[in-house]
């Protein structure tokens, strides 16, 4: 089975964002202010302390780090 890539990543890659609470580093892409993709790895997942409640929520501390990265231009918001 060939592993295929999401073509959308060609238009805008995933970029690192670091959480300021737990120091986890994840990869993030924002196609717009309201759209967010977050790719975790094992180290980041183990470091995060903000996912203990609802496992489907986005860690609030990470969410604000991403918001800030988008505002400062550390990650591009594609729209």
């Amino acid at each position: 089975m060939t592993v295929r890539q999401d073509d959308r990543l060609l238009d805008g890659p995933l970029l690192p964002v670091r959480c300021r609470r737990c120091d986890a580093e994840v990869l993030v892409r924002k196609a717009s202010w309201e759209q967010t993709s977050i790719q975790w790895n094992a180290a980041a997942r183990a470091a995060c302390t903000g996912l203990s409640g609802d496992p489907h929520a986005t860690c609030p501390a990470l969410r604000s780090a991403i918001q800030e990265a988008a505002l400062t231009g550390a990650i591009a918001v594609m729209e």
């Binding site: 089975m1 060939t2 592993v3 295929r4 890539q5 999401d6 073509d7 959308r8 060609l10 196609a31 717009s32 202010w33 309201e34 759209q35 967010t36 993709s37 977050i38 790719q39 975790w40 790895n41 094992a42 997942r45 496992p55 489907h56 986005t58 594609m78």
Partner: protein, 385 residues
């Protein structure tokens, strides 16, 4: 790598479907169905299986063909705790061993057939499939569904349908927000996916559609108006989805649990099941809850038919072309791949947490306009009639 030419024709690509069946727990339906003292034929994982419940109450799954001369055990008879072959009466136990040959002094060595681990939970029968032949690990579980065994919930309403396509099509629905509007007449307003470990989740909220009469009237019959729904649906492994689905009505909420599960029959077909239970409440006493469960079950079946009609005519596509308002199809398939490789080859990328939240601004605008147009057209037609 070929350069992406903007004006080059996009080709649809599809590799041959893998001949391997997913590792994991697969639900064969209501456990009760297999407790009638008769053997049942189940075509699954490219084979014929026999499912039978012995006098001890244990439900067993064996390869359907007798190792003696190839008789079809699912046409046999349950005798005690064993299944007796219709051809020469060899007796096979749930552990896959031949226990007795009534006309022979002893059972030959090697008289052992394939047996699948089984589990009964919440009134459902599960079978463990593993091409590597390992036992189910303790951490790979199906969560207990609280309402399934409680008195203040209805019993399961269960349906089974054979679908003639590869099971990947039904998995893709996890990330396919837009089809819920176009195929199922729902109206998603919020949509997020989280994949982690062997669990893939879809979180969706929606409003009811005024251009769909059943929804506007709250299921018909002048009941309370339905406002919308909230759903958290997770695949636990490759085939069993539990959807905690709440319908919001004017004045109350209706809580239900929907099961959407399947097992592969072969590469090109699968058995698609739905189950639903509904919680009783002040607004919904037991009888009304039963009626609602029945109605929801029909509604889900209609939904399946809508999907099936699409699947019947569509082509398999390994390289879907996505817009930014589509969900993470590629990442979902990357997650799904973990069930088709050896345990040793499960890569971190298949199981690492991944979150994807869709920006629904544009979809909601566009769908609202479409709903209004539909209503205006209907009104104009009504006026001229």
């Amino acid at each position: 790598m070929t350069a992406t030419e903007p004006d080059a024709v996009r080709a649809i690509e599809a590799e041959a479907v893998s001949s391997r069946f997913a590792r994991g727990w697969h639900c064969l339906g209501l456990a009760e169905k297999y407790r009638d003292g008769k053997p049942h034929t189940v075509n699954a994982f490219g084979q014929k299986l026999v499912v039978f419940t012995g006098a001890d109450g244990e439900t067993n799954v064996l390869d359907g063909y007798c190792r003696h001369m190839g008789g079809d055990l699912s046409q046999g008879t349950v005798k005690g705790n064993e299944i007796a072959c219709p051809f020469h009466d060899w007796r096979w136990g749930g552990d896959g061993r031949c226990k007795k040959i009534p006309y022979s002094r002893r059972v030959p060595l090697r008289a052992r057939t394939a047996a699948w681990p089984t589990m009964v939970q919440d009134g459902l029968l599960f079978v463990w499939n593993d091409p590597e032949g390992n036992k189910p690990p303790d951490e790979v579980t199906i969560p207990v569904i609280e309402g399934a065994t409680r008195d203040d919930w209805t019993d399961w309403r269960w349906t089974e349908t054979t679908v003639h396509t590869n099971a990947r099509e039904v998995i893709d629905n996890v990330v396919d927000m837009a089809h819920f509007f176009y195929i199922h007449k729902s109206f998603p307003t919020y949509f997020k996916n989280v994949f982690e470990g062997h669990v893939a989740t879809q979180i969706m909220r929606g409003r009811s559609r005024d251009d769909a009469r059943e929804q506007r009237d709250g299921g018909g019959g002048g009941g309370p108006r339905m406002l919308g729904n909230s759903s958290v649906a997770s695949y636990h492994g490759p085939s069993f989805m539990i959807d905690e689905l709440t319908y919001h009505y004017e004045g109350y909420d209706l809580r239900s649990v929907l099961i959407n599960c399947h097992y592969p029959i072969d590469q090109d077909s699968f058995s698609l099941h739905s189950g639903i239970i509904v919680q009783h409440s002040d607004a919904l006493p037991p009888e009304a809850a039963e009626a609602t469960a029945r109605k929801l079950s029909d509604f889900i079946l209609t939904g399946f038919e809508q999907d099936i009609e699409i699947w019947r005519n569509k082509t398999r596509i390994d390289n879907p072309l996505l817009c930014e308002e589509d969900g993470p199809v590629y990442q979902l398939r990357r997650w799904y791949r973990q069930f088709f490789v050896d345990v040793a080859d499960v890569a971190p990328e298949m199981t690492d947490r991944f979150e994807f939240e869709i920006d629904t601004t544009r979809p909601v605008e566009s769908w609202q306009r479409e709903v209004e147009e539909n209503l205006a057209r209907r009104e104009a037609q009504g006026a001229s009639a």
